[in-house]
Amino acid sequence: MSAGAVGRAHPRLEGREKVTGTARYAVEYPLDDVTYAWAVPAAAVRGRITRIDPDPALAVPGVLTVLHHGNAPRLAAGVEAELHLLQDPVVHYRGQLVALVVAESIEAAREGARHVLIEYDTEPHSTVLTADHPGLYRPEKVNPGYPTDTTEGNFDAAFEAAEVRVDVTYRTPAYHNNPMEPHATTAQWRDGQLLLHDSNQGSTAVQAALAELFEIPRESVRVISEHVGGGFGSKGYPKAAVVLAALAARQVGRPVRLALTRQQLFGPIGYRTPTIQRVRLGSDADGRIAAICHDAISQTSTLTEFAEQTAVYTRSMYAAPHRRTTHRLVRLDVPTPFWMRAPGECPGAYALESAMDELAAACGIDPIELRIRNEPTVDPDQGHPFSSRNLVACLTEGARRFGWADRDLRPGTRRDGRWLIGTGVAGSSYPARARASAATATAFPDGGYLVRINATDIGTGARTALWLVAADALGVPPERVDIRIGDSDLPPAGVAGGSMGTASWSWAVVRACQELRDRLGHHSGTLPPEGTTVAASTADEVRAQQPMARYAYGAQFAEVRVDVDTGEVRVNRMLGVFAAGRVVNPTTARSQLIGGMTMGISMALHEEGLLDERYGDWVNHDLATYHITGCADVEQIEAYWVDEEDPDLNPAGVKGLGEIGIVGTAAAIANAVRHATGVRVRDLPIRLDKLIGTSSFT
């Protein structure tokens, strides 16, 4: 690769369209004869629909039809229970989308949805996760395929023998993905072909699922996802909206638009499971850890098993000869939890990185020093070498920039007027993986190039990053390159998820571009008018990767202030230093990192799904009542990265940084609150009422 575009800051290619409102999202494409759908959520938690009366809805002027399990087109069974919508009368959770009203206007559809009369036979339900739930079981594996439990050495004996022991339980609530653009689809059937404009994190997967569900060839489904307004994991797999829209369009024989409401994003699209996590650390008086154990409990639904890999983070983070991790699950009458930014690592790191802080306090040593003392030389889990591991560099560089030196370890001793001041740190890591992808590169006679790959830009800047990578791989200025993404007609590629997007896609792009250069090198004479195209796939290369521990690392630092009268917690400053391989575009990389840290502040202080067991759902299901961190809560936030060249990753040398930002942040905040107040809140979010009841507050 010639040095060039990669590594230099570049604004998003589609930035202008987005800020001027001309970029089109899934339900914004102008269409003749379009109809509007509105989903009807179940009002029962567990049971069966005994009767549906659509007549009052059909009486609303403009309503065309009401789809439900009694009349909806049939879908193939066995694809994914979550997507087997409107096929049977069983209700698995409150809010399950059980009917769909299609109308000439969105207002009529919405009004119609109120008037669909549904009767249920209900059964007793269970919707609250508890540590002693009778339904606790051991899943076969945890997301996305990790072993459920691991053990090394003899944890119990080593913990028992340890000089210093920390044995604590942390809880996290349900967190709800709230992308700005809801799950939304425009569906059209034309001569047996299904055309979808859909909001997702990977349209290749949507194409495959819809083809299976409707039992048509993949080529008969086209999914266009040019611009996507976020997903945070919740659009990583096809969800209800796209299936419902396709069903409705088939039924009415006209195009259908469906966008879920904000309220409907609290459940049917997935969410981060609540967790109950017991962490035990046993060390000598100097903080050298002999025994680590992380036992995680989370929930799934009765529809599909989703097992959050909460304790996996602990397997590879710090050294200790004796270690154990376990995962237990309960099937509740709730929507299926799913991916939310750094599933597993995010809640798991909150627990482990908090427990590390508790251990540092118990040993009376600096929490950064504690982490350095427990730095492993090889992956403690698998014994593989690290492709690169720069946690210590992140910690020390962060400490320098943040001004960590000479920090007073004692809690509750710093005051600034009415504010108690404290600082906290946490480590973080996130796997650096890649999925197989395909791409094509074309050279045209006029000196221009076209690179095609079905990558998805969910707002991250992926389109721009791939464009820069392609230019360098072709050895030409970016202006001569055209990049096309976001359409299932393009060469297939994996989802924008797991921080694998740029790593996976750039790999295929680089290979296609390199092969094109080779081809052109052997070519003489002018190119044909349609250009010369080469296709590349990374399937073999990705499969042949040497087993190694590949992770991005980070260190987050926070300074908080806590009002001594009211317990209000505010974040003075947040700083993160990351080691994530090569940074393709500093502008959008920084956005990902500060976005991740902001979401971590949100997790620590603001977000919480409040469940009402009697109704079996979350009562705060809009953005006025489900608080997320706002601009005023982020007073100063900085992200830096250390230079990292890692030859064992992928051709572009990237690790991905969509998720690492959130991973340690909640722990850094919790640790800072403890440093400020002396109070350790072990169930998130750290709300003022959890502080003012304690002895440190009057």
Binding site: E111, L610, L688
Partner: protein, 329 residues
């Protein structure tokens, strides 16, 4: 959403008449609360009578030294008004502590006072709420009630009034000017909102179809030293977890006059008369402020999840008054 008609009356009489003719009509001001509730199906008017073009958007100083605020004055404009900022800082602060810049640009004085509770159960038609559907029960009584009332609630309703502005107006002894089909009348602000009692669906003492035309602030020179402290779960764009509006008039160390009102503790903005009585005529100390708050909160009956509001309101009362006392030095 129910289909509705829309009218834009030319004057107050026409507006009042339109509402008088149609029992399902509603006034539309900034729409920041009403339209949300219409989308949720909580309110289903068949006619919206837009009051924002009525000539009710002036802020006028009155000959007695008070101030008259038109019903449709936007929250942002009122907060920025120089007389408000100088003479009634508690009002400006309460306004600026509320919602977001965008919402305040739309929200009007009257609409703010008549906004509905933010109780989760009221806003969800799938759940029991006596306020929304009399007789259906109060799901909040034993549900998620951390944000709800500690004072004056009933078994039928534990909701709180969400407005910040209203707390300041309660402290200032404002008067509400109302137009009704048979004429106009003045309603003391502290009499505008009702206790929930047996009928939480009746939120104000206004008659159906009454139009608020203005809010009058009596002259209160002491209010130049006034403040509004709001406790919230994030730095901005959050309703109060608890709030205190305070005016303190000291003669040397002695409390000559004091006005205190609490927000987010009851079905109506809560004027803290007991606390005021405990302070008036006595030498001010932070300890006295705490005792005054205790006097007011002695009758508090916390719900399952909001016991913390009692010490919280106490602490904020002490802080607000102490800050005012110190600012006089």
């Amino acid at each position: 959403m129910r289909e509705f008609r829309y009218r834009r009356p030319a004057d107050v009489d026409e507006a009042v008449a339109l509402l008088g003719e149609d029992p399902e009509a509603a006034y539309l001001a900034g729409g920041t609360n009403l339209v949300d509730l219409m989308k949720l199906g909580v309110q289903r008017p068949d006619l919206l009578v837009d009051v924002t073009r009525l000539p009710l958007d002036a802020v006028e100083p009155l000959p007695d030294g008070g101030l008259r605020v038109g019903a449709t004055v936007r929250n942002s404009d009122l907060a920025a008004h120089p007389v408000v900022r100088r003479d009634y800082p508690v009002l400006a602060r309460a306004l600026l502590a509320a919602a977001s810049g965008q919402v305040r640009n739309m929200a009007t004085t009257a609409g703010n006072l008549l906004q509905r509770t933010r109780c989760y159960y009221f806003q969800d038609t799938g759940k029991a709420c006596n306020k929304r559907e009399p007789g259906s029960g109060c799901a909040a009584r034993h549900g998620q009630n951390r944000d709800l009332a500690i004072l004056d609630w009933s078994e039928q309703c534990v909701a709180t009034h969400p407005s910040d502005l209203a707390v300041a107006l309660a402290a200032l002894d404002a008067v509400v000017e109302v137009a009704e089909p048979d004429g106009t009348r003045d309603v003391p602000f502290v009499k505008l909102h009702r206790s929930p009692g047996e009928h939480p669906e009746r939120e104000t003492t206004l008659r159906r179809g009454a139009l608020i035309t203005a809010v009058r602030l009596p002259p209160l020179p002491a209010a130049r030293r006034s403040t509004y402290l709001k406790v919230r779960d994030r730095a901005s764009f959050a309703f109060a977890v608890g709030s205190v509006a305070a005016v303190l008039d000291l003669d040397g160390d002695v409390v000559r006059d004091v006005r205190l009102a609490y927000g987010a503790v009851a079905h109506r903005p809560w004027r803290a008369y007991q606390a005021e009585a405990a302070l008036r005529g006595r030498q001010f100390t932070p300890e006295l402020a705490g005792q005054a708050a205790d006097a007011e909160l002695a009758v508090a009956r916390p719900l399952t999840h909001n016991g913390f509001k009692v010490p919280l309101i106490r602490a904020v009362t002490v802080r607000a008054l102490t800050e005012l006392a110190e600012s006089r030095a």
